[in-house]
Symmetry: C2
């Protein structure tokens, strides 16, 4: 079946190019489309918007904040047998859009490959990919779960709500701390302890991603605000404890 499938990747930004190449590396015929980027990675063909929308499976790799517009503008032209998947770093929001904007006949799955060109530079083996059925036949879901598992990904089935809740307190807080530390322009120092090196790794692993991803993670994850309030509260608590210590 895999041999007869063409996979469309809509959007060839930093993540889309990486994702298209990863699919091609795993034996798929991959066609990429991008409004801006006309360069495709090795093994990926550049196609027209129509070609990509008519593929057996279609991955949207656009920023979360662009997804609504892109989906609205392309919905009516998606092939009737095309399985539509988003790859956004939040899940409730894009799943809701797919449910509302696509006809019921089009199968949809929400996915979140929790890695990118940096974290997967030595391969995707062992990395987590979240998959949430939105509107699809059980066999379609199973086929993709089995495909992703064959890449040795850690495939995690969960609800969009559970994803967003847990992601706010893992990926979301990591990016928030990374961007906060990045504001301070901390540099290399001879006095770097192992702990400090880990802290610098957090900055590197979050600030290479586009700023838009950071904004979108914080804005479109309904649990991100609670997380930020919690983090600020924890910081205030520690400040208070230190103040009391100084008064002793």
């Amino acid at each position: 079946m895999k041999e007869s499938m063409r996979i469309g990747v809509y959007g060839l930004g930093r993540f889309g190019s990486f994702w298209a190449k990863t699919l091609a590396d795993h034996g798929f015929e991959v066609i990429g489309y991008s409004r801006r980027n006309k360069v495709v990675p090795d093994g990926v063909k550049l196609g027209t918007e129509e070609e990509v929308l008519g593929c057996s499976a279609l991955f949207y790799c656009v920023s979360i904040s662009a997804f609504k517009d892109v989906l609205s503008q392309t919905a009516s032209r998606i092939g009737e047998h095309t399985v539509v998947m988003d790859t956004c770093s939040v899940k409730l929001y894009p799943a809701d859009l797919m449910r509302k904007l696509l006809p019921e006949t089009v199968q949809t799955i929400a996915t979140h490959p929790m890695f990118g060109p940096d974290s997967a530079k030595n391969g995707v083996s062992g990395l987590p990919l979240v998959i949430c059925p939105v509107n699809c036949k059980p066999e379609t879901l199973e086929w993709w779960v089995s495909e992703f598992s064959s890449w040795k990904l850690q495939v995690l089935r969960m609800s969009c709500d559970q994803h967003d809740r847990e992601a706010a307190w893992s990926q979301g807080i990591t990016h928030f701390v990374g961007r906060t530390l990045s504001e301070l322009s901390l540099g290399d120092t001879q006095l770097a302890t192992k702990g400090y090196r880990s802290l610098m790794t957090v900055v590197e692993q979050t600030c290479n991603d586009p700023m838009q991803l950071f904004y979108d993670l914080q804005r479109y994850n309904p649990y991100a605000k609670q997380m930020r309030m919690g983090l600020r509260g924890a910081l205030d608590t520690v400040m208070e404890v230190l103040k009391k210590q100084e008064e002793l």
Copy 2:
């Protein structure tokens, strides 16, 4: 010369025990003294307070906040040929105390081994040790620099002021972030990205240390308050940017 030297370690807490063992592992005869802990690591002898204070070299391994009292109570009994070194994680404060409380005839060096039982569990090679002469003969300083270098430590000579300035923005901020995150009791999640794993490493690498070390690092480093204000300011900046984004 090394063979004829006895090294005293005053204080056998988590760091003191580790430091005594590290000295013994490098060929010194080591005598440890502790008011509370009567268990010594392999290769270290338990001694009386008097014995430890009369050694060729004496390392104080007590908490920063206890150093003033301990030094005052022991100063008059330190041997006249004993080289006194502290191992505190801040340097201006203990160097100042050694200058004030010890007779000018006693040689003093401020040191900060920037590692401990966790970060050095696979050996000390490559780890940083800061050394600041306080009141000592150049040859005494050179002898210790050469000794520590022979352990393959990265020996860094600098002023106490430079140490505290840089440490506030490396070790200090790392511990502050670690303790703040620890307040949130973040747990293991299947959704752990590589960035999140690094963040959890920061918590592990800071929260195993005694709480007293955290308090003392923040209180006795004169640059720590600036650092904390800076961190809070950066957090507020990022919050503001997100707020503006949402208003777009």
